[in-house]
Amino acid sequence: MSEIIAANDGDFESHIKDTPMVIVDFWAPTCMPCRLMEPGLERIAASHARQVKVLKVNVNENPKTSSRYFVRTLPTLLFIKNGQVKTQIVGAVNPVQIEKTLREVG
């Protein structure tokens, strides 16, 4: 079972380079919708373990990565395919919608 990986400014690039499909969850401890969305993301990480890597980036500790993608709202989910941002979801969503977006992007 694959889990969500906490990425940081230092290792973010290497995480997105070696995986065809990555979902990045930008979050902060003060963001309550982020906290409540996490179980859904864990479910995605587990059920798509072979095809998708799920990263989470704490924006308070990793300003470089969040400003690189102009993230100004939490939660923001980025869908990155082969290093390129394919789409993003701003605001809390359910796992079914995340899966739907994955199918559209993948």
Binding site: A28, T30, C31, M32, P33, C34, R35, L36, M37, G40, V59, N60, S66, F70, V71, R72, T73, L74, P75, T76, Q88, V90, G91, A92, V93, N94, P95, V96, Q97, K100
Partner: protein, 307 residues
């Protein structure tokens, strides 16, 4: 996942979860569908101070997590999926979700409301790039910066107070010359040196290329239009009810709110409503939970009458 239920509750906010507790304790097979996060819109706030029974401010997400667990304790199933269609056929209700269809003897509709947007140029383009609907979520991005909050109700003033802990300057842009918010919040705002009110004003345009840079603001009394520089703008201008799915099933008023009796029944058999889909609700967690309980009791009365 089971296809057949006694009750399907659409919406997992305070109204839906309070109803779920009562349906569960009535030993009804109950499913709650929530399209975003369990807990509803209140989890976008950082504190709640007026929910009876707590002498100290509490974190809304904690309160709502407890409410969800309380429902689960009585056998209620909580499912993070979206109700996409609702119809009555062959004496039962049918609910479509993304990849499934469920049937139920009764529906308790508590889908709440969504943040109202202004619908002016630049707003949707800059959403998530300086334009936000959640100060608790996004305040840390605006440390030492200039932000605006649009609105004059409880939510707007709470957002401004929260932002003042991070931002250098907070402007509360309101279309009237006084706030509607609780007096205790107004007192705090007027005493806060970082917050200033911009009265009688409306936002005509959100400006910026990659991110928000300024707002075009018109003074409604003088007609003067000014461009004001801001790094962030938070919308707190009210909500619209999530009742599109009920169109044609029940009577809605001109703003889309459900018209119901005090027992929260509707003219459709076995369809009950609660929370912010009902007009006149002042957006209080206590009101929504109370309505949820009432709707669940009416629903139980209906289910018993079928037996």
């Amino acid at each position: 996942m089971d296809k057949n239920w006694d009750v399907i509750i659409v919406g997992g906010g305070p109204a839906g979860l309070a109803a779920a507790i009562y349906c569960g304790r009535a030993l009804r097979k109950t499913l709650v569908l929530e399209k975003k996060v369990f807990g509803g819109q209140i989890v976008f706030s950082d504190i709640i101070e007026n929910y009876p029974g707590f002498s100290e401010p509490i974190v809304p997400a904690d309160l709502m997590e407890q409410m969800a667990k309380q429902a689960e304790r009585y056998g209620v199933v909580l499912e993070n999926d979206e109700a996409l269609g609702l119809k009555r056929e062959g004496g039962a209700w049918h609910v479509d979700v993304y990849q499934n269809q469920y049937a139920a003897k009764a529906i308790l509709y508590a889908a709440g409301s969504s943040h109202r947007h202004l619908g002016v140029p630049g707003e949707s383009e800059l959403m998530g790039r300086g334009v936000s609907v959640c100060a608790t979520c996004d305040a840390p991005f605006f440390k030492g910066r200039k932000v605006a909050v649009l609105g004059g109700g409880d939510t707007a003033l709470y957002e401004a107070l929260h932002l003042s802990k991070f931002a250098a300057e907070v402007s509360l842009i309101h279309r009237r010359d006084q706030f509607r918010a609780e007096r205790i919040l107004q007192d705090r705002v007027f005493r806060n040196e970082k917050i200033k009110a911009v009265w009688d004003s409306e936002v005509l345009r959100f400006k910026g290329s990659q991110k928000l840079e300024a707002l075009e603001v018109r003074n409604k009394k003088t007609g003067a239009v000014a461009e004001m520089a801001f790094d962030g703008a938070f919308l707190a201008i009210g909500t619209i009810p999530n009742t599109g799915m009920l169109r044609g099933l029940v009577k809605l008023d001109e703003n889309g709110y459900v018209l119901t009796d005090i027992s929260l029944r509707t003219e459709a058999p076995g369809l009950f409503v609660s929370g912010e889909v009902i007009g006149g609700n002042r957006r209080q967690v206590a009101i929504s939970t109370g309505m949820g309980v009432q709707a669940a009791l009416s629903c139980e009365e209906y289910l018993s009458s079928l037996e």
